[in-house]
Symmetry: C2
């Protein structure tokens, strides 16, 4: 048995690399960027008017309520116009190019437009405090060629928008690997079957598939019966097709727990079996060359769920090329006692409260079989093995499972 | 102009209701539940063995190292067996039904199995502290018919798993409404077009479509030119097809800002125009009967993004039937000065740090046009209009935009 930190290190020493692929930007949400996205032009690409009003040369303003003859209008989407003479101005709209010969914009609410000798004149009611107001200078935000989004970024809505703005109609992302979730256990029936009194329905596979979908990884389901021969034969087929093999159940010390033996018979290198933790002590991890990563998770639903979020998800994120995310820390909201010398992953409902604390309320439930308890929680906190008493107000790492 | 709180109330007074539909559970992740999901059986459905070992009657134990003759084995997935005589036991595997006539399980690691007169005998090395150990009693977690997941819950992986366990192969969720994102502004070109020096590419539509996808709402794109006739005609068509109409741009006071006039010409009831906030002051909201909700957002990218997350998303969540979520609060990590009498939505990078504080670092950027700045942030904090100085350590509502 090894502690969770050692299990984590072993898992991180066996990351996979998945190839890149170029996809439509419209499909890229939730994918991991595999190139640097650069500014194709300055940001903004031209001196940009930011208020609807008049554009003029600041040095033309004389007196208290200067008047400027309106000679033209500069609309958004029009080529740049030029101010033809001193003492004049152009109307200019938000998003328009700042006309040549002007440097300042005053919004309509600060001017009064009057008619003089058949000409429209803008009378400035509120003097601009300085030259350059309401103009967003070319290149002020970002320079051409500057890297805007770095390789390894998860593409969320703001990244998608910036990629669109620089013309990335296609974008390079990590290919989503194929995964499978293999349930074991003769007591399991399918979701649409009526279980006999001594049977239960499969559910871990649904939980993991949904969690994988957050990373745009799809997963197929298989079920293997409690037989060494059939488990070995079934896994042999499965391992041909799926680089990521997630097993649920069959890794304890029961008489019918054939998963470790079957995996070793298939040449999967066992990297660890059993972790000093509750839940999910029987967790098994191994790899077959660079071909398969095998996460054999204990079958109890809370154990499966914990292992996915604490071990498998970080492995997946790193293997997809995602940059590291900072650990989240939560303040324990109650006293907790846990005597065994195991790392205790406590189910909590955490929330950033009105005091600005990210506080975690323990919701213990009835052990690793009580997965209805997960519904009331949004994560685990990780309590170290070398202590038994954990006090209200102490801070521990938080592992979220609701997004 | 109205303050954000009033805008919120108006929006919440104009929620929509979308019909329910029954879909495959495998498609339900991220959808909003439209029925109560009940336990179809007790949880667990039988007295369940939770460790691999031997099952026996606690009252049979005599002396220091009692011996029990192993008479049979109870596997997971087998019908319940019965202990035939006192002083005997059955081997029993995790997930199996507890055999009739037994009440306690001792794991293999606490027993020694020996051969006596051709019979297998379990010698208990470590006495159980009490009757009933390692048995998960029928109905202990949840009783049959108990509501496990309530209507209005967002279906995340743990809910999907619990729904699977009670046989909900099909499940009732809110139908995803059709949405459209209509960009306006003659300066805009498509993502795959090469913009002229005075043009920019569309990007707000990409941001909003990706954000809507988090709620499984798909959205079509349209673009309307800066013309009252064309805007009105285009919107008339669009409003026939889409209950949720999101416009980007054309709501300021510019000479070519035709959106409010076009909407009013089409019989959309204006509920407000302009909110006392920065960014996104020109935000316009209206409804046409129960047929269309129209969110006309200012076209600056940061403004669009703010309005989506601060106003449109809560409206959508409530209209989909989602139960209220608690406000998140963040501790401001620096001093901030903002003089205008407007609610200031400050861009921040927030994180629950090692002190257990959910702390928000301001990343101000260059105003509402500087959307590359959003890439460095994960939310806004909402600073009230009636103050100008906001001190480090003060706590404000947090509006996340990265999931």
């Amino acid at each position: 048995m090894i502690p969770p930190q050692e299990a984590t290190e072993i898992i991180f020493n066996h990351l996979f690399t998945f190839p890149a692929e170029t996809i439509e930007l419209s499909q890229a949400h939730g994918r991991v960027l595999q190139e640097d996205v650069q500014a194709d032009r300055d940001f903004p690409p031209f001196d940009r008017v930011t208020m609807d009003g008049i554009a003029y040369d600041f040095d033309d303003l004389k007196g208290d309520q200067p008047e400027l003859v309106i000679e033209d209008m500069q609309l958004a989407g029009e080529p740049k116009k030029t101010l033809t003479q001193a003492g004049h101005c152009l109307e200019a709209m938000t998003g328009a190019v700042l006309p040549e010969g002007t440097n300042t914009v005053t919004p309509y609410e600060d001017i009064d437009v009057q008619e003089r000798d058949g000409k429209k004149v803008a009378v400035i009611q509120k003097m601009p405090a300085q030259k350059g107001l309401n103009v967003h200078d070319q290149g002020f935000d970002r320079q051409k060629s500057e890297v805007l989004i770095t390789k390894g970024t998860l593409l969320s809505p703001s990244q998608i928008a910036v990629a669109a703005s620089v013309g990335k109609a296609q974008i390079k992302v990590t290919q989503a690997p194929k995964a499978t979730i293999v349930s074991t256990g003769d007591e399991l029936v399918k979701v649409d079957e009526e279980p006999k009194p001594y049977q239960i329905r499969q559910s871990n596979n649904y939980a993991i598939r949904a969690a994988l979908a957050n990373f745009r990884v799809s997963a197929d389901f298989f079920h293997l019966p409690d037989s060494l021969e059939k488990t070995t034969a079934g896994l042999a087929d499965i391992m041909e097709k799926y680089p990521i093999v997630i097993l649920s159940g069959g890794v304890s010390r029961g008489k019918r727990d054939y998963v470790p033996d079957a995996l070793e018979a298939l040449g999967v290198q066992k990297l660890f079996h059993r972790v000093k933790q509750r839940p999910a002590k029987p967790f098994w991890f191994g790899v077959k060359e660079k071909q398969n990563a095998v996460f054999a998770l204990p079958g109890n639903p809370v154990s499966t769920f914990l292992c996915f979020h604490r071990y498998l998800q970080p492995w997946l994120e790193k293997s997809l090329g995602l940059a590291d995310r900072p650990t989240q820390w939560a303040t324990l909201n109650d006293h907790v006692k846990f005597a065994p010398e195991l790392t205790y992953f406590l189910q909590v409902l955490a929330h950033s409260d009105k005091s600005g604390q990210f506080s975690a309320t323990p919701i213990e439930g009835h052990g690793s079989g009580d997965f209805a308890n997960l519904l009331r929680c949004n994560g685990f906190i990780e309590l170290p093995a070398d202590r038994s008493h954990f006090r209200q107000g102490e801070v521990f790492p938080f592992i979220p499972f609701v997004r």
